[in-house]
Every structure is written in structure tokens, then in C-alpha cells.
Subunit: 495 residues, 2 copies
């Protein structure tokens, strides 16, 4: 690799590492009233990172290399493309605003936590208003020709637009609404026993068991607890952290968080070693990232075979939950379809509706049709309309997710999109891999190998569309996803 290009990316990765670990510490370990102190340092380091990323020397280097790109490797070309794209965006955002936004997002996350604790949206409101304003302002700076929400969507999934989202969600709605109706008309599943007592200590043992089963290398992947689970990679794919949250009356919550975040971690760990400390190291988009996390969470973790595999461990660690229930009881219980309040605990069928609420609200916040102060009311109204549930408190409503506090607006649609990518990947994988046999044997090696070869190893080398077509040999379609849901749930609900 070009030496200056290497040195530049190593420096960028060191600043990312510093900001990443400061943020991670804030979420996991730091004393409660230290966030101002952390914001102070993150603000300064972000400013240095900004200068390094869009500084004169960097631009000169990258534009020089861009001019002679025929002589460069595919990897170098992609690095330059990615960095110049960011530069051309960042050049449009005034540095003070970029820095202030970074600092604000730390404070907003703290305010969100306090608001959630106190079940008081008003604590969070002024911060969220500012975050939305920053989003709009950045959109206006960077892509004045676009609808600001199209700019936001494109940040997390290159090429995604409201038009595509409207079509995608429309398609899901068309086939999932009848499915959901049939499910509601069928005899219901009993999952009440899942709320039996599961000690935090045993859940921690279980988390470690699951991570081993997923073949996450514990020498390079850490586990902590936080309010809201997440995955972060620090410095390079050599150090990845996942987090979970234990509820002693709901072992399944942490179980699926660990598998979900574990899927992110596998992807984060997967790029070729030589991509470490370059911009190619890491997942290419949020949609592809979610395709991996939700692949493991749902397509593997909520399969009958997987539940049969882990049944002895469940019986050993959570006897009060399992009692005399069979693997089939558990399989049906963890797949119970029921409109509910919390997205991360939603079943596969209603999950997209949770995402659709957020999509609708974000779209309207960014078009100016909706104000932040009206968000709780609208949230509750849409939950009633789409899911048929009454939201009893903002804690279980609009304050449930950390995303907006951290500036992740336009991110949610990628959850639904990722689920659909994952199902299409699985269909393709089944052509060459005995997926059910691998799960039955408790050896996910062949499944991980397919994902590593087709997805993880490339890091950011290919754009999402290219990567998907390369892996599938055909364009993506949401049919595989909906076919999968129809087959699975008609079998569970017996129609």
C-alpha cells in the first residue's frame, strides 16, 4: 500500500479508537456525573480527527492518488473513494458545528438515560430537538438537492431513499398483514413460563456459552452490560466489544441480545487481517450489519434446531423457567407472535411494524411535518394504529431506544432491510451448506465460513449492492424473507 495512505489511515484509526473507548467507557463503567468531562475530551479529539480527515495535506494526498488511480490496487482505490466522499461531505460542514454535534451527542445520550430513568420525555426533548436540527442542517450543507431524510437514510445505507423504503415497507405490509391476521385467528401460543426466574449470574454463564457456540474468539471479543445492548469495534477488528442487559424475569431478552450483538461482532471481526487500521476494516453499511446480526438472532437463534441444541444448557441454568417444558414448547414460546411495546423484544412478524413507526416519525420530523414536542403523542398513536397496543409510558415508548440520542436518525429502516437481506443470504447459503445439520451438530463453523467468505472478509471493499449481488448471484428481493416468515409461522400456528 502507498505509505502515506497507510500512515494517514493508521492515524485516523487511532483517533477513532480513542473516541470509541471514551464512549464505550461512558456507557459501561464511568461514574455517573463524568459525561461533561468526557464530552470535553471527545470534542477536542473530534476536532483533531476532523482536521486530519479533511485537512489540506490529506486532501492533497488523496486527490493526487485519485488522479493516478489506474496504477493503484482495488483496495487503494476504494479507500480513496471512501475518504474523499467523506471529505467532500465534511468540507461542507463547518468545523465548529461538527465538533459541537459530537459533544452534544454525548450529552444527549446522558439526558436520554436520565429521561428514561425518570420516565420524563421533557428531560430529553431539548437535546433531541437540537440533534434533529443538526441533522437537517448537515443535510442542507451536504446534499441541498435532496430531501433531508433521504440524506439521512443514505448515511447508513448507500443509495437508500424514501422511495425505496416506501416500496420495501409497502411490499412487507402487503404480505405480512394477511399473515398476521391468520396468526391472530389461530390458537395462541403460551409463553408465560419464559418469565420464570433466571439469575443474573446464570445468565452471564449463558452469555458466555452462546458466544462460544457462535465461535466468537473471546481473546478478541469482550462482553459488558449496558442499558441498551450494542457492539463496537475499537481501533481495528482485533478488539470488538458487545454488551447486553439482564432481566431476571426474562432470560430470552439477553439471550437474543447476545446472539444479535454476537452477529455484529462476527462481521466486525471478519475483515481480512491486512484491512486492520484502514477504512476498509469494518462493516460496509448498517443494512449489511443488521443482515448479519439478525441472521444469527432469528434465522439461527430462533430456529427449532437451535433451541433443541441449547435445551440441555437451558435446563441446567434456568430450571425455574424450563420446569417440565419441552424444546418444542420453548421453540413455540420464543416465536410467539404478539404485538407489543418494545422493539428489541418483538417477534419476527411484528418487528417490521416497530421499525415502520420509527420510519414514519423520522420522515415527518425531517420534512417538518412533525415537531419533537409532539413525538410522544404521535409515537403512541402509531403504536395503536400499526400494532394495536396502548403505550402506558414514554419509558416503554418513545424513550426505549438510544439511537436518536446518539444521532442515529435514518438508521432504523436498515433493521428491517437487514432482516430481508439475511433471509436471502440464508436461501443462497442452503445451496452449498447443510445449515440444519450444522446447527444440530452444534458446530456453526460451516455457516460462519460461508458468511466470512461471502461477506465479512471484504470489509468495506464493495458497496452494499455489489456485495449482495456478488454473494447471491442475483439481485436482492424481499421475497425470500417473506417466504421464510410465511412458511415458519404457518407451521407454528398450524394453518
Amino acid at each position: 500500500m502507498n505509505e502515506q495512505l497507510r500512515v494517514l489511515q493508521e492515524k485516523l484509526s487511532a483517533y477513532d479508537h480513542a473516541i470509541g473507548i471514551l464512549t464505550y467507557d461512558g456507557e459501561t463503567t464511568a461514574p455517573k456525573r463524568t459525561s461533561d468531562n468526557r464530552s470535553h475530551s471527545i470534542g477536542i479529539l473530534s476536532e483533531e480527527l476532523y482536521k486530519l480527515s479533511v485537512g489540506e495535506e490529506t486532501v492533497k494526498l488523496l486527490e493526487g492518488l485519485e488522479r493516478e488511480k489506474e496504477s493503484l490496487s482495488l483496495e487503494e482505490q476504494r479507500m480513496i473513494e471512501m475518504m474523499l466522499k467523506e471529505i467532500r461531505d465534511m468540507q461542507k460542514i463547518p468545523m465548529e458545528e461538527y465538533v459541537a454535534f459530537q459533544e452534544l451527542s454525548i450529552q444527549a445520550t446522558k439526558a436520554w438515560k436520565d429521561a428514561k430513568d425518570a420516565d420524563d420525555f421533557e428531560i430529553f426533548r431539548p437535546y433531541l430537538e437540537k440533534m434533529v436540527d443538526y441533522g437537517k442542517r448537515f443535510a442542507a450543507y451536504c446534499a441541498p438537492e435532496k430531501h433531508p431524510y433521504d440524506y439521512m437514510l443514505n448515511q447508513f445505507e448507500e443509495g437508500l431513499t424514501q422511495e425505496k423504503c416506501d416500496a420495501f415497507f409497502g411490499n412487507l405490509r402487503e404480505r405480512l398483514v394477511p399473515l398476521l391476521r391468520k396468526i391472530k385467528e389461530s390458537p395462541q401460543v403460551d409463553d408465560s413460563f419464559l418469565n420464570g426466574f433466571a439469575s443474573e449470574a446464570n445468565q452471564e454463564i449463558f452469555s458466555n456459552y452462546l458466544m462460544d457456540l457462535m465461535e466468537l474468539d473471546r481473546n478478541h471479543v469482550g462482553l459488558s452490560t449496558t442499558e441498551h445492548p450494542f457492539t463496537t469495534s475499537l481501533g481495528s477488528h482485533h478488539d470488538v466489544r458487545i454488551t447486553t442487559h439482564y432481566f431476571e424475569d426474562n432470560f430470552a431478552s439477553s439471550m437474543f441480545s447476545v446472539i444479535h450483538e454476537g452477529g455484529h461482532a462476527l462481521y466486525d471481526r471478519g475483515p481480512k487481517d491486512e484491512y486492520a487500521y484502514t477504512v476498509l476494516d469494518g462493516g460496509v453499511s448498517m443494512g449489511i450489519h443488521e443482515s448479519q446480526s439478525r441472521f444469527y438472532e432469528n434465522l439461527i437463534g430462533r430456529s427449532r434446531g437451535f433451541i433443541e441444541l441449547i435445551f440441555p444448557k437451558l435446563k441446567e441454568l434456568f430450571p425455574d423457567v424450563i420446569q417440565d417444558h419441552s424444546p418444542e414448547d420453548i421453540y413455540r414460546a420464543i416465536n410467539k407472535v404478539e404485538p407489543s411495546l418494545i422493539r428489541i423484544e418483538a417477534d419476527e412478524v411484528t418487528y417490521s411494524l416497530h421499525v415502520m413507526v420509527r420510519y414514519e416519525l423520522e420522515k415527518r420530523l425531517f420534512s417538518g411535518e412533525l415537531e419533537v414536542k409532539d413525538l410522544p403523542t404521535e409515537w403512541n398513536r402509531l403504536y395503536k394504529e400499526y400494532l394495536g397496543v396502548d403505550v402506558p409510558s414514554d419509558q416503554q415508548g418513545v424513550l426505549q431506544d438510544s439511537h436518536w440520542a446518539g444521532g442515529l436518525m435514518g438508521y432504523f429502516p436498515s433493521y428491517a432491510l437487514g432482516s430481508a437481506y439475511g433471509a436471502h443470504f440464508l436461501k443462497k447459503m442452503r445451496e452449498t451448506v447443510d445449515v440444519d445439520g450444522a446447527i444440530k451438530a452444534g458446530n456453526l463453523g460451516s455457516i460462519n465460513k460461508w458468511n466470512k467468505e461471502n461477506i465479512w472478509q471484504y470489509g468495506c471493499l464493495y458497496k452494499p449492492d455489489q456485495l449482495i449481488e456478488k454473494a447471491l448471484g442475483e439481485p436482492f428481493s424481499s421475497d425470500a424473507y417473506i417466504d421464510y416468515l410465511e412458511k415458519k409461522y404457518s407451521e407454528i400456528y398450524g394453518f
Copy 2:
């Protein structure tokens, strides 16, 4: 404050924060095989910090301000003095060597841990050799006129020399050796019951109780566990972390670690608010730092009044230890004098002998009389000679402390010196504060207030000598310390 001076120091503090949190994460939370990844980023950030600290612009700014120092505040003058002193040292060290040393210290700490786990000094030896070489080389660059070990001592305690240390330790030896002899000839204390079972969970509750008692503000002071306890402040005095290590058959080990590190944390938390993000924020020297940590650990924590105060909590949390023992039994047991292997668990009387072993060895390593490969043999020989104990393994011998791995060579003498400062401070404090009454009432506020007013609030404003004389109103002498030891231990041992 001069605006450029403020901005410069804020940047320096942000880099310190980043490097500090990366290091802290490595010690507390990070997955095992991620240290190379961390070293990579710390190396790059250290290089940036180095450039910022000694760069042309910085030197120009500071030297410009130095020329007009009559117009500056006392604080600004001291900031400039401190930074220029460091610059004038750093200018003499080639940047590549400074960066390589920082990276090495991370790797050496990892190797030390592995060596200690495996009880194999050979794993650590090559790293320690390099660390000593760096020390010598840096000494030769910065103070070629000095003995290299005098340079090392001066790093941690401005003005300290081998000559002063020889005199100081000589004085202690002269009065402590007869004291120790008398103790040995007296009826011995029974402390075997201290090894009763104390669960880790209850020790954690106890740590929190002790921290509350010390009035450590938990909104700004965190607690974690590590192999070797330490204190670090991150970014500013607004975020301080202490660590401890629990042994279920020795609750006193963590108890005194928490009080010791808590003392450091009180000092770190104490500077005036306006010193945050400046070089004045933090302790002025290792000796003064140890004067505070050992003040709380020994002068308070090992006092009869303190044991009486915490007795009900001990009985509640550690019933298997306490059984039917009285506060007096515990007071005598935790003050039992017995030559032993591990410094951090040593009694007050033999403590200085542990320090003297390290002092002797460091002195000889730096003069070239001793090679690293012979360190374990010499360690064991001196422990036999000074303390009369046989060292059964390097794990309990030369590998017990993390200091050398982190480059802290010349640091140990400050532990003994700090103990002596602390005793002199206590003597002075007693003139205006009812120390025993405060302990009895379980309200250390008046004690903390004296320390805050006389020591903590000044941060690095005064040099150690100035600070001590200002607080004491007379020059420091080791007599208060030895008087205290003689009085306390003749009473316990009844002579």
C-alpha cells in the same frame, strides 16, 4: 488565563485522557489478546501528544510567555515553568524513542502479567531489560551530568537524590531496627483469624462502604478490579478511578487497597475547579501522593478508632472472620508486625524495608552493578538479609509489583518518603483538628478539609518542598513518623 495557554493545555489533557482510558481499559475490561491493538493506537496518540508538547508552536508560545512572566499570574507562571521543564527534557529525547518506549511499556505490562501468572521471570526479563535501557538512555539524554538513578528519582520527586535517600533510609534504619527487635522479643499477636472466608460480593459492598466513609464522591470516582490496585484520573479531577483486588481468604488486603487508593483519589479530586484541563490539575509529586494514600491507609485506617468505627460493618459482612473477636483483637491483628513477602500487605514497621530492597536494586541496576537477569537472585538475597524471609517463588518475589513494567523506576522510595510526610502532616493537623473525635464520629469531614485546604486544592501550584513547608510551617523531618511508629507499636506490643 492566556487564551492560547488555555487551549494548549486543554488539548494536552484530551490526549492524556485518551491514553489514560486506553490504558485503564487494558487493565480492567479489555479482552486478553488485544494489547497489540491498543499499543498501536497508544503509540500513534503518544506521537501526536509528543508533537503537541514539544512542537515549534508550543515552544514559541511558552518561551514568549516566559519572557513576559512578570505580567502573568502565579498559576500561569507555574504552568509555563512545568511545561518548559518537560519540553527541555523531551527535546533531548528523540521522538521515535519516546514513542517506542510508550508502546513497550504496554507490552511489558502484558508480559509482566503473563510472567506473574506463569511464575516465570524469563517471560518478563527481555521487556524489563529494554525498560531499564530506556531509562538509562533517557537519563543520559536529559541529565548527562547526573547519575542516571538520580535522574529517575527526580522524575517522581523533584529534588530527590540518592544522597538524600541514603540519609533518609539510614535514619529510619537507625531507629526502626531497634524497634523491630523489641517487637520480635515481645509476645506475638494472633492474626490468623483474618484469613476467614469473606465473599467477593460482600467485599465489594465493603469497598463501597469505605469509599462513602472517606467521602469519595461516587458520581466522580469509579471502582474496578485489577491484578494490582491503582488510581488514575481521566481528563481532569472530575473523573477518577480506583481499583482493588479481592481475595476471599484475606479481606484486609482489599480493605487497605481501597483506603490507600481512596487517599490518592481524594488528592486527585481535590484541586481547585479552575485547574481542570491544565497541567496544575493533579498531584504535584509521587511523594506527596503517597503521603495522602498512606495517610488514609495507615494513620487513619489502621488506627484503633477507625477499627472501632467500622466494627459493626465488619461483623455484618464478614461473620466468618470476626466470629467472637473484639475490635481490639482486630486492631492488634491488622497491625501485627511480621517480616513478610508482599510489600502491599506489609505492616507499617517493616514496610520501609520492602521499599529499601527495591531502592537498593534499582540503584544498582542503574549504576550498572546489577544486570536484570540477576534480579531474582538478588531480590531473594536482600529479602533474606533485610527481612529474614525466604522467597519461595518469583510470583511472590520480584514479579509482585507492576511498577517496573510500566516504567516506574525510581518511584518506590516515594512510598517510604510519603509515609513520613503523612505522619508529619498528621502531627500538624492535630494542632487544629480533633482527629480522634472525627474518626470516632465516623465523620472524616474535618480531616479531609485540612488536607484539602493545605494540600489538595493547590494541585501542582507549589513544588513539593514549598507545599510541605507551607502546610507544616517548618521543614520536614522524619522524626514525626518514627515517633508515631514507636509510640503505636510499643503500646501494641507492651514495652
